[in-house]
């Protein structure tokens, strides 16, 4: 389903709980699928004793991937034209993440109608873990 310009308003926001009580197994699942086997994301012993972190933490790209679901569920499959994020805080096992996307512009680009979104994913303490922007094709 492609959104239409008429059904969108600037400032309109969508939020969704993206993951509750993030499990270490999901980090392993993501490592296997993405091919990024950095021990920081599954190996407690290495992460504590060699890297000096309190424990394993999520791949930034896992949080970006989890956040993408909020966008595609809203703008429809295959409509994203841009998606970019900054990783601003680490995500830990046990975290519950809530994503939020807000319409910042409805415009035309190269003859196509486009919606711009501002994105923030926060943890259960209210701290942003990922911030970013996305654009998607919409119907005029």
């Amino acid at each position: 389903m492609t959104l239409s310009a008429a059904e969108l308003t600037i400032g309109e926001t969508r939020t969704a709980v993206l993951v509750e009580d993030l499990k270490r197994t999901q980090l392993v699942q993501y490592a296997g699928a993405s091919g990024d086997y950095n021990p920081l994301h599954h190996d407690e012993l290495y992460t504590r004793e060699v890297a000096g972190y309190p424990g394993v933490f999520a791949h930034g790209m896992l949080t970006m991937g989890i956040t993408a679901t909020l966008l595609t569920d809203w703008v429809g499959d295959g409509n994203l034209t841009r998606y970019g994020v900054r990783f601003v805080n680490q995500v830990w096992p046990g975290d519950t993440l809530t994503g939020s996307a807000e319409v910042t512009a409805i415009r035309e680009e190269d003859g196509e109608h486009v919606v711009d979104l501002a994105i923030t994913t926060t943890n259960q303490h209210g701290a942003a873990v990922v911030t970013g922007t996305a654009s998607a094709r919409i119907d005029g």
């Binding site: 993501y30 086997y37 012993l45 890297a51 993408a68 499959d77």
Partner: protein
Amino acid sequence: MPTDRFPVEAGHIMMFARSVGDDNPIYHDAEYAAGTEIGHIIAPPTFPQAQAQFNATYRLRPQVGRPWFGSGATPTGVETNSEVGSGGGGGLHAEQHFEYHRHLKPGDVLTLTVRPGETWEKQSKRAGTLTFSETITEFHDQDGELVITARGVGVRTEKPVEN
């Protein structure tokens, strides 16, 4: 050595979508996908990153004949922590951006062109001196069409990030 050839496969897309917790059938159900406007399975937005699987010399995957820096009998399998930088502060991912000229589908065979972008430094209270470096990756399909442009920013920290 970057990825020379990235074949996009349906099983890989399914596993990737599962790993990010997305059960949208457009990522795994060919019959469902055939009935949509798109008409076929597509890959989730961050799937291009899984090109690492096809990078022959990727550092973050154990490789036959090369010591692995993760733990076994001891906390790390390498003598010096050269793989991850000094002081335990290693490379982290700071930013990632994708531009989709079209979305990927099973059967695509992508060729990657990787070039360095800018580098810059910043001071941080939580992690000391931060050195950022940008990498731009262009994904071309089997017809030579540019399908994805990715821009990643990595950061090396002086010490582990404090929370």
